[in-house]
């Protein structure tokens, strides 16, 4: 597969998709970059022109921006911690031989198939609702005041909902990784006198590092852009308490109808994503090969 002609043919055949992908990425990015330096408000279409870094400066001066940045990182970090830790524990349970294993696995994976706004609505109205919600009923059953989840703890509530959605994904990856662990290795560790905890610590956990890396990388990509769950539940509130970067961009674009600022926010989000990706790859990338 490496003669001159096959290499040429390979390049020739790959070229169209590379080209399409490049255009697909470059054009929107270039347009966003262009708009981010322009005055472009839908409510006053007659006022246009270059504004330099004004749109960016507005973002950095806005107190909401730093809150949104923290919220975004908290959302990513919180969901990652919950899904990885719980995912490993549930995967360990699912890996045990039990009756109805197939059905059990489908049930565990089910939340992943629920669309984000639907999942968020279910949580908002059936679980967290202060009058009709399950949690409120439980609280009243114990004689306590129902907790106003979305009002008093907006960010933890959103993190909980998103973690619920992504837990099946993490669990699924961990279960498949566990199944590829040779049972002889565990038996050897058992013969070597390793307790159940030590077998987990020294054999299972190292075996899972690559799966954990994959889960963290893939989830980070999707979690940085979480929007639907916030839109359906808290709308970024109360105040700006649960506004994330994507939601703030949305507010600039759709509510304030300021395309220039929204574009600047978009570019900031791209830069943030790249910074996160850089640190992730530096910290975890080595687990991907070998």
């Amino acid at each position: 597969m490496s003669t001159q002609s096959t290499r040429m043919a390979a390049r020739f055949m790959v070229a169209p998709s590379v080209l399409v992908l490049l255009v697909w990425m470059i054009v929107p990015l270039a347009m966003t970059a262009y708009f981010s330096f322009r005055l472009y408000r839908l409510l006053s279409p007659d006022r246009t022109g270059w504004v330099g870094f004004n749109n960016y400066v507005w973002f950095f001066n806005s107190p909401d921006f730093w809150l949104a940045l923290t919220n975004t990182l908290m959302l990513v970090g919180g969901v990652l911690v919950i899904t990885v830790v719980l995912g490993i524990l549930i995967a360990l349970l699912l890996d045990q031989p039990v009756k109805g294993q197939g059905l059990l696995r489908i049930l565990v994976i089910a939340p992943f198939f629920v669309m984000p706004p639907v999942a968020a609505s279910i949580w908002e109205n059936l679980f967290m609702h202060p009058q009709n919600g399950l949690f409120a009923a439980l609280a009243r059953g114990f004689g306590a005041q129902p907790i106003l989840f979305l009002e008093s703890y907006p960010m933890p509530s959103v993190i909980g909902i998103v973690a619920w959605e992504w837990l099946p994904f993490a669990t699924l990856i961990f279960v498949t990784a566990l199944q590829s662990l040779s049972s002889e290795q565990l038996e050897a560790a058992e013969m070597d006198g390793a307790s159940a905890f030590n077998r987990f610590r020294y054999i299972i956990l190292p075996h899972l590092t690559r799966a954990i890396t994959v889960v963290i990388l893939i989830q980070t990509i999707f979690l940085l852009g979480i929007f639907g769950e916030i839109f359906t539940t808290t709308q970024g509130g109360p105040g700006s308490a649960s506004t994330t970067l994507p939601y703030m961009i949305f507010k600039q674009a759709i509510a304030a109808k300021d395309i220039g600022r929204a574009a600047a926010g978009g570019i900031i989000a791209v830069i943030l994503a790249n910074i996160v990706a850089y640190f992730l790859m530096r910290g975890l990338g080595r687990h991907l090969d070998a």
Partner: protein
């Protein structure tokens, strides 16, 4: 010390009975080989001794103490697995030190013991490599190293050489035998290869369908097989088993003659040579003798016979006689 006593040990997986009941005594310092065809329960028996499987009923005693329900780690046994089961993310050093670390041994003593084991097994220059960077034979040695550092009461080997190529297998076979000579620890070795069994064992246990067919020293099994199964299993090429009128002449239902106990040249049997294999040191030929069937013959040196030749054969050595139940007479 490593005396292991099995009493009426039985193992069933659900409805299927793998081992219907075994009594066996393994003396301290013995090299015992479990041999038998695949699926005969030899690996299961080893895993029962190791504690990796629960015994359905019966008693396993190690050094006089009932170990039937002890967890594997408490039995003081070390095992070398067929796949070696090395820990891929640890260096050779950490692999070998793992059982010591789990036992909570001080670091300095761990290091000293690892060094000693590595020296015995010629692994000193590989201690900082990972299993993935080692050859099959080296991995095998690491697995053995991990077993010997613990100074166990007995070693259990589960077909340890089956993943090695032929040349390495002979080398490792000798190394394990030498290890046994120097350590003088009880070893239980499972294999389906009767050559390994014959060359290494003090005592061979021939298993078939979960039952012990015969226990004895290698040459005892070769010279006095208790039944047709053992007669056919021990020895290569296989013993010739002849039924019918020829057997009746010797007052038996079946007679068995080893291929090396048949002479070529003159004799009562005449047949046509089928397959002939000339190894230089030996010649293996298959002769189709009318009325007797295919007879395996092993002759020393070059016999000078070829496919299609018509030759005469004579039994020249011990003739084993078996009754209609397959038991030796």
């Amino acid at each position: 010390m490593g005396k292991i006593q099995l009493t009426k040990v039985r193992k069933a997986f659900g409805e299927t009975e793998v081992i219907p009941g075994i009594d066996l005594a393994i003396e301290d310092g013995e090299f015992v080989v479990f041999v038998g065809p695949s699926g005969c329960g030899k690996s299961t028996l080893l895993r029962l001794i190791a504690g990796l499987e629960d015994t359905t009923s019966g008693v396993i005693e190690i050094d006089g103490k009932d170990a039937t329900n002890l967890p594997p780690a408490k039995r003081g046994l070390a095992m070398v697995f067929q796949s070696y089961a090395l820990y891929p993310h640890m260096t050779v050093r950490k692999n070998i030190a793992f059982p010591l670390k789990m036992a909570g041994m001080p670091e300095a003593e761990q290091a000293a013991r690892v060094e000693r084991a590595a020296k015995v097994l010629n692994l000193t220059s590989y201690l900082d490599r990972r299993p993935g960077q080692l050859s099959g034979g080296q991995r095998q040695r690491v697995a053995i190293g991990r077993a010997i550092v613990r100074e166990p009461a007995a070693f259990l080997f589960d077909e340890p050489l089956s993943n090695l190529d032929a040349a390495l297998r002979v080398g490792m076979r000798q190394e394990i035998s030498e290890l046994h000579q120097s350590l003088k620890t009880t070893m239980i070795y499972v294999t389906h290869d009767q050559v390994e069994a014959m060359t290494m064992a003090d005592k061979i246990v021939v298993l078939n369908a979960g039952r012990i067919e015969q226990v004895g020293a290698p040459l005892e099994l070769y010279n006095n097989p208790r039944n047709i199964f053992v007669a056919g299993f021990i020895g290569s090429p296989k013993m010739n088993l002849i039924e019918g009128p020829e057997a009746a002449k010797h007052d038996a239902h079946t007679i068995g003659i080893r291929p090396e106990h048949i002479s070529v040249g003159d004799g009562p049997w005449e047949g046509v040579v089928g397959l002939s294999e000339h190894l230089g040191s030996d010649s293996f030929i298959k002769v189709d003798v009318p009325g007797l069937g295919i007879i395996n013959v092993r002759g020393p040196g070059e016999l000078g016979v070829h496919h299609g030749d018509r030759i005469r054969l004579a039994p020249a050595g011990k003739i084993h006689r078996f009754d209609d139940k397959g038991l030796a007479l």
